[in-house]
């Protein structure tokens, strides 16, 4: 990056002169201004919330024994003994160990712990007070604080509870790693993700190989089917699996008595929803291999098997690695699927939900989030390194590989792809069928009663319309922000530090699991002191969160398209004294229109299906269809959940079709120059 920029800078100045700093024109300033604004957006939308979350994970609660004082009366109620602090009593008695002093925000410590000979029948009276104004204690359910003495009889003294004070430290992490139920999830998450990755990448490789190396029929159809899982929320396959293999499942015998609720279900579902992602990456990797290598191998009389291992696989290795990391990350950060079909099998993403929603323990939720962030960050870093290495695999002299017909191999490929297609279509068809059944398995007549969403949890039909609105807003606003940002970072002259900083910010969202992002948003935006507090609970926060969550891929797509446009355009415009925004409007946007459409459909589809990032952020007026699927399933309304999931599928499929039609039209109108 730096070297190209240097070269460009060098080209623009006379040799052997002292380096001249080019004067910044109005355009440059405006462009930098734009860049700064979008960078600021990224800082607010990702860096600050993450910081808020990190600090939450270090915010601990513990009982401060020095903050309370007691006084005990004699049998007739005279308080002659001097007041003693709880700390002094504990030093003497060792009643509460230091570990037990650290607690959660809801912790309570009975005051009687410090009085071993306490009896609630005794006539002894007790007095309690805080030594500072913020020492809080309860008598029964009544809350008291402050330094005033309060007198209670023995029967009420047993109801006195000390409350913890806030502090900063590592205590939450210590608790996490000393609770087997919690850290066991790390192992579970990694195991499931690794297993799903191996299966998905293997299956997807076979599929991509068949698509690019065989002459089988229906390639277009297979490609389309393989992409279908992208159009549904990740938890929909879970629902389909319940209908297939649950205790009332249609073909549960195939599981040989194993339960679908648990690792088996999670892995099958994960393979389903990550398959298209792996397939796209591997197909791209296989498509760029060089036919000359195959010719050479054939001339050397290498067997097909040998060619496969010495030419095909090494050629696609970066794609395979990349696919593996993408799948791993998708599975480990996914929340919907293990929630639906995980049974007792704990995984990190579900733990966050349980901590925050089930126990209102936000601090522990933040700790689990930080833990979940780790594997995601590692996978992300490794993937970046691999991507960097994969540069000049394809040279200008490469010849694209053209498969030759081979009857046996083509039928084999066809059969293989057919099986995968049956798996994908079958699972979706089961969901649709289940959605139309009146009362599975007792009343199999068809009805539309499962579409009466307004009678169920989850927000009803409104949530469906909200989702469409949110997806449209995300597509429009997101594409604008992403494309303008990418343009500024790509076409601004000089300003190296700023640009690389921007790139870094733009890459960050990829490494942040949706669940973590959503939780970070609560901590950041719900803080009353935050001037942006007003967007909490609105559609805006959902849109911002979703745009941010899917920023990286959109950004990379835009940058790739913009890189194909020569910088000469900018130079020519400048010499014609045309401002950059005119160039942007008249040339850049029309030329990049196909890419812009791609970005918007990507954002639309993902906004329709996302669950993890928005699960903490939706409000009653902004319930979403994907969340409704989860909530209805959660409440046991499985058929309506399937129905809503399929509504999302049809909507996304429709959006895809519109996108296809528009793209074709656009291609004809603005891209004629490509086909000279």
């Amino acid at each position: 990056m730096a070297s190209t920029a240097d070269a460009l800078a060098a080209a623009g100045r006379p040799p052997k002169a002292r380096p001249i700093k080019p004067r910044l024109g109005r355009d440059d300033l405006i462009m930098r201004g734009f860049m700064a604004v979008i960078a600021l957006y990224l800082v607010i939308a990702i860096a600050l919330p993450l910081y808020a979350m990190l600090s939450k994970s270090f915010s601990t609660y513990s009982f401060d024994l020095t903050a309370y004082e007691f006084q005990v009366s004699d049998e007739v109620g005279n308080f002659d003994a001097p007041p003693v602090s709880a700390a002094a009593l504990n030093d003497e008695l060792q009643a509460v160990s230091p570990e037990d002093l650290s607690t959660s925000s809801d912790g309570r410590l009975p005051a009687t712990s410090f009085f071993p000979d306490f009896s609630f029948r005794s006539p002894v009276m007790y007095k309690i007070r805080g030594t500072s104004a913020d020492a809080v204690y309860l008598v029964g359910t009544e809350r008291f604080s402050g330094t005033e003495w309060r007198e209670v009889d023995s029967n009420n003294f047993r109801r006195v509870m000390l409350r913890p004070a806030r502090d900063i430290g590592f205590a939450n992490y210590v608790t996490y790693f000393s609770t087997p139920a919690l850290f066991q999830s790390i192992e579970n998450s990694i195991f499931i993700s690794a297993l799903s990755t191996i299966i998905t990448v293997t299956l997807a490789f076979g599929f991509a190989y068949a698509l690019s190396r065989s002459c089988m029929r229906l390639k277009g159809f297979f490609r389309l089917v393989a992409l279908a899982p992208i159009l549904v929320p990740s938890l929909l396959p879970g629902i389909g699996l319940v209908y297939l293999f649950g205790n009332q499942g249609m073909i549960k015998e195939l599981l040989l008595g194993e339960s679908i609720y648990g690792p088996i279900g999670i892995v099958i579902g994960s393979v389903f929803f990550t398959f298209p992602h792996a397939m796209i990456i591997i197909t791209t990797a296989l498509a760029i291999s060089d036919a000359r290598l195959y010719e050479a191998a054939e001339c050397l009389k290498a067997s097909r098997w040998k060619i496969f291992w010495t030419v095909t696989v090494p050629g696609a290795r970066y794609g395979l690695i990349s696919a593996a990391f993408v799948v791993f990350n998708l599975v480990i950060t996914d929340f919907g699927l293990p929630k639906v079909i995980g049974g007792q099998y704990n995984m990190l993403a579900v733990d966050i939900y349980k901590q925050v929603i089930g126990q209102q323990n936000f601090e522990m939720g933040a700790v689990v989030s930080v833990v979940l962030l780790m594997p995601a960050l590692v996978a992300f870093a490794v993937d970046r390194q691999v991507q960097k290495k994969q540069v000049a695999l394809l040279s200008a002299r490469s010849v694209p590989y053209q498969p030759k017909p081979n009857r046996r191999f083509d039928w084999l490929a066809f059969g293989y792809c057919g099986l995968i297609a049956v798996f994908i279509v079958g699972l979706l068809a089961v969901c649709q069928y289940a959605a139309l059944i009146k009362f599975w398995p007792y009343d199999l007549s068809l009805s539309l009663k499962n579409y009466a969403f307004d009678l169920m949890d989850g927000g009803g039909w409104d949530s469906y319309y909200n989702s469409i609105q949110m997806a449209l807003l995300t597509a429009v606003a997101g594409t604008a922000v992403v494309f303008v940002g990418a343009y500024m970072v790509e076409k601004t002259k000089g300003f190296e530090t700023g640009r690389s900083l921007f790139q870094l910010l733009a890459m960050l969202p990829m490494a942040i699991p949706g669940m973590v992002l959503g939780l970070a948003y609560i901590f950041f935006f719900n803080e009353p002191a935050n001037p942006l507090n007003f967007i909490y609970g609105t559609m805006a926060i959902l849109v911002i969160c979703t745009v941010t969550h899917f920023y990286t891929v959109s950004h990379l797509t835009a940058v790739t398209a913009l890189k194909q446009m020569d910088r000469e355009f900018e130079s020519v415009a400048a010499s014609l004294k045309q401002p950059f925004y005119k160039l942007f409007r008249v040339v850049t946007v029309p030329v990049c229109l196909p890419t812009i459409l791609d970005i918007s459909i990507y954002l639309f589809v993902n906004a329709m299906t996302t669950v993890s990032a928005v699960i903490f952020l939706y409000s009653p007026t902004t319930t979403l269809a994907s969340v409704a699927v989860l909530n209805m399933n959660d409440a046991g309304d499985i058929a309506p959940a399937a129905a809503m999931g399929m509504m999302i599928f049809y909507t996304n499929a429709g959006a895809r079709l519109i996108h296809l039609a528009v793209s074709k039209g656009v291609l004809k109108r603005t891209q004629a120059w490509r086909f000279r």
Partner: protein, 340 residues
């Protein structure tokens, strides 16, 4: 044409004015009441108080509680109408509730009113634990109908029971806390140890076990009576069992959020929420309501439910909640292998 336009505008304006006059105050009300009941509640309330408009904010108990706690320093709600008393106790100890004795509070069953004076919350109806038993599926498996909690530990039921996870469901916690109160601390944990052997899995939602039992996905689900009655009414082959040792319960309750700018309207709503009319309204879904003598039997509800409700110690539940959940997690949640 122009005349028609004017007429239309006039009509529109008068309509707007009328609506504005009708709804002078808007209250933001947080609730966990079932979605299908909310509209009816608001309409019945507006029959008597058309000048107060209710903006519902509805979600499951856990989420509403989490939301209220998250907004502790910047409350958004004016009133909570229909949230578990256990949650309201939690909010009370955080100092988030405005104590208020609504008019006519003395007519309510003492059990349904907060002990403080003035009370921080008042109850609406009880929400009682029950066992949902699918006669068709249990028949296929030859499982006898259980009569008591103890029956459920019979090895015959191994893998055929389902209950909510107390760590994510209020109903789950209610069960656990009731067992600890009924059987004592040691007896309660011993009971759960035995029960755990039979549990196929723990669900995240409290109504799910009953719905899953209704769908035949599992023969027996530990859930609550209200849900069971609804599923039975929908045609599921269910029997709703009230275990003979007694059943845990929680109540839906109402409270004013401290710091509300609309205190008068909030008081009006809370006053109304304990009237006879309101109690009759709750009675359409819930068999046990706060005002004695109001409740009529609800279809499909087990009859002996009220007698079997234990003397629930909400303070015990609130004070020991963190410790109980931790212990439960230690004992049963670390088992990661699913059991079929």
């Amino acid at each position: 044409m122009a005349f028609r336009k004017t007429l239309l505008t006039a009509a529109a304006v008068s309509l707007l004015v009328a609506t504005a006059a009708k709804a002078e105050v808007e209250l933001t009300v947080y609730t966990a009441v079932e979605a299908e009941d909310l509209k009816r509640y608001a309409e019945t309330f507006n029959q008597d108080h058309p000048d107060i408009k209710i903006n519902w904010v509805r979600d499951s108990t856990g989420i509403v509680t989490a939301k209220l706690l998250a907004e502790k320093n910047n409350p958004q709600a004016d009133v909570v109408w229909g949230l578990a008393a256990t949650s309201l106790l939690l909010l009370k100890t955080e100092g988030m509730l405005e104590p208020y004795a609504p008019k006519g509070v003395e007519k309510l069953d003492k059990k349904f009113v907060d002990k403080s004076n003035p009370p921080a919350w008042v109850g609406m109806d009880a929400w009682v634990a029950s066992v949902c038993y699918n006669t068709v599926e249990a028949g296929k498996l030859g499982l006898p109908m259980p009569k008591s909690w103890k029956d459920l530990t019979d090895p015959a039921y191994k893998g055929h029971l389902i209950m909510p996870n107390p760590n994510s469901s209020g109903t789950g916690f209610l069960d656990v806390s009731s067992w600890l109160q009924m059987f004592g601390e040691k007896g309660g944990w011993d009971y759960m140890d035995a029960l755990h052997e039979n549990i196929a899995r723990y669900t995240h939602s409290g109504s799910a076990p009953c719905k899953l039992a209704a769908a035949g996905e599992i023969p027996i689900g530990i859930s609550f009576a209200f849900r069971g009655a609804k599923s039975k009414a929908a045609g599921a082959p269910l029997e709703i069992i009230v275990p003979e040792e007694g059943v845990g319960w929680d109540m839906e309750a109402t409270a004013i959020i401290a710091g509300t700018a609309k205190l008068e309207a909030a008081k009006t709503l809370v006053d109304w929420s304990i009237t006879k009319k309101a109690n009759e309204m709750y009675n359409t879904g819930y068999a046990v309501v706060a005002m004695p003598g109001v409740a009529k039997p609800v279809e499909f509800f087990p009859e002996n439910l009220v007698d079997k409700m234990i003397d629930n110690d909400f303070e015990f539940a609130a004070n020991n909640r963190a410790a109980i959940l931790e212990e439960w997690q230690k004992r049963y949640d670390s088992k990661s292998d699913p059991k079929g």
